[in-house]
Amino acid sequence: MNKPNSRRNFLVAAGGLAAGIALPATVAAQMPGAPAATQEAIRRMVGTARINKGKVTLDLPALVDNGNAVSLAVRVDSPMTESEYVKAIHLFTEKNPQPDVASFHLGPRAGRASIATRIRLADSQAVIAICEMSDGSFWSGSANTVVTLAACLEEI
């Protein structure tokens, strides 16, 4: 069976991306502390808008059994009415080879600003959720998790 070890390749690629890239000061101000590639991905999504902290709750287990499928849920504090609702939720990671994870487009018809999915995490790291509101404002939340690598792999 030809089962390559995804995580190891993932990690190698992540290392390459983590190498610093100079960023405009405005971007660094949006998400201080996040790696350059993550900041860049966030900037592509939100432009130069200010990102506020709050309103977004990211549920991520503190310790995951396997980084291949990490359960994740995002809830946003919003009444979800015709006049005030969540337009989109974007997910980013710090140490995956590609920081973008997914974007979810909601609207007043959702009724509840809440989604759940399963993601891949190449290593222990922070996941960032950024929410775009109907009034054009952006809000963010993040969570950290420790990824346990399996002890017995199929191939060595």
Binding site: N2, P4, N5, S6, N9, F10, A13, N68, A69, V70, A73, T93, N96, P97, Q98, D100, V101, A102, S103, F104, H105, L106, G107, R109, A110, G111, R112, S114, I115, A116, T117, R118, I119, R120, L121, E155
Partner: protein
Amino acid sequence: MARALINVPAAAKRGEIIEIKALAQHNMETGYRRTQLGGLIPRDIIRQFVCTYNGVEVFRAEFHPAIAANPFIAFWTVAIESGTLAFTWTGDNGYSVNESKSISVG
């Protein structure tokens, strides 16, 4: 063969907020993995998931390779009227799957 597993309540009260869960069968090949001989395995993922309710889009998602194999997604929508919820997954290499579920709203 089973391409997707979708859970929608068969019936709901008007105005009720219902949860929808959808699981698609797909390896979500990241494009970052290598074979044992060292060759890069090309990316092959689902790129987009759309849910419409009687023809109107109520939820949409864009996926990148970090979405786990056999993508799972749970979201909510307001049950406004009886009808059909249609689900479409599209992705690399012409991947396209359509499924639908009917709902009775009283």
